[in-house]
Amino acid sequence: MTTIRIPPVLRENTGGSRTVEVTGSTVSEALDDLFGKHPALRDRVTEDGELSRFINVYVNDRDVRYREGLETAVGGDDTIILLPAMAGGSR
């Protein structure tokens, strides 16, 4: 099982859950399982089958956009983190 961490801004779509356990061997499959459990999330996280530009997706600590995107492999004890894009750093 892979754990997906849900940011506060999306928890209204998961009945308040902070994390959701899913199956799948890629980020895409894991997200499909998540959307099956919480259908309203699909349109908030993706746009036309691609990740929304307002959402960053990480497998553990690594942004999947710079790896294989939605095809990035997951498994074992991996955690997928969904985070809204935010201004950060030592501004």
Binding site: R53, F54, I55, N56, Y66, M86, G88, R91
Partner: protein
């Protein structure tokens, strides 16, 4: 042989040309050389001196900033302090919009340089400060807002100064690591290094914000800084506060470098990337010194206790 440089004509002219030091003890193995660019050695103690100077100079040149005009900017610390110093030198009043949950040193330093502070709700994070500043600027057209997140002078100064300095100091640089804030450093240095040294990798260290400071009412309030050129990035790592503090402590203990919290995150990513390489040179940009974080005592306190506290504040 002396490497002393000629006197600068004033403090603003002394910005940049910061030291590069090799981190022999933090390098994970003998095949990789790890170097740190010490931006905390700038006049007000951070890389933002470069950005503030560039934004003000370009605004004076194009006429958007006129003598005596007030400068207004959202900043959780470093950029505001840089603007306050430079504004005080050039005769511009400076007003900074800052979240109310940063460290007290920032307020103290801003006031020393004569800046006025407008606090934004800490729970809304940086995005809240940006929104408030934009509202104030819209309501008062007499102010000039440099707006570091969207000002092309920000990445340009890194393309024109930070990047060339890095290549001159470490000609065989293979990987460049920096924290992701406005994206100015990564974009400007990244574009320069990729032009001069194709194959170089540009790696971002991104803060994992505490839930209490995520502060978004909707996803569409989310924010991708206009100056960030995402195509220049080759990898991006999320760093939590705990790992950033551990990195910060290792910098001090192993290398004697007293640095700010984002530097702890950047070094954590740099060491991780270096560990995965067989040979090569990694340059990490350390954005600021540790002075503004002293009151939070990041160096001595219990990590668990600190982690809980950092969850609700905005330190980098």
């Amino acid at each position: 042989m002396s490497t002393a440089v000629a006197p600068a004509s004033d403090l603003i002219a002394a910005i940049g040309n910061t030291p590069m030091v090799e981190l022999r003890r933090l390098a994970p193995h003998d095949g990789v050389r790890l170097y740190a660019k010490l931006e905390g050695n700038n006049p007000t103690g951070s890389v933002k001196d470069r950005v503030a100077r560039a934004m003000i100079e370009s605004a004076i040149t194009d006429g958007s900033l006129v003598p005596g005009q007030t400068i207004l900017e959202p900043s959780s610390g470093n950029t505001g302090i840089s603007l306050a110093m430079i504004g005080s030198r050039l005769g511009h009043p400076v007003r900074i919009v800052m979240p109310d949950n940063t460290t007290p040193e920032r307020e103290q330093i801003l006031r020393l340089f004569g800046a006025e502070i407008v606090f934004s709700p800490g729970a809304e994070g940086s995005n809240g400060a940006i929104r408030l500043a934009q509202g104030l600027a819209d309501a008062d057209p007499s102010v000039f807002m440099p707006y570091q997140y969207g000002n092309q002078a920000n990445p340009r100064v890194h393309f024109e100064t930070t990047g060339p300095e890095i290549l001159a100091q470490v000609p065989d640089v293979d990987v460049f690591v920096a924290g992701l804030g406005t994206g100015g450093t990564l974009t400007g240095v990244g574009q320069y290094l990729k032009r001069e040294r194709p194959g170089v990798r540009i790696v971002a260290a991104e803060p994992l914000p505490g839930e209490q400071v995520q502060g978004l009412r909707s996803l569409e309030d989310g924010f991708i800084p206009p100056v960030l050129d995402e195509s220049v990035l080759d990898d991006k790592f999320l760093v939590n506060n705990r790992d950033a503090v551990i990195g910060l402590r290792r910098l001090l203990r192993d290398e004697g470098i007293f640095a700010g919290l984002s530097c702890g995150a950047a070094i954590a990513v740099a060491v991780r990337v270096a560990r995965e390489m067989e040979t090569g040179s990694v340059v990490v940009l350390l954005a600021d010194g540790g002075w503004k974080y002293l009151s939070a005592d990041l160096w001595n306190r219990d990590l668990d206790e600190l982690e809980d506290e950092l969850e609700g504040s905005l330190l980098w």
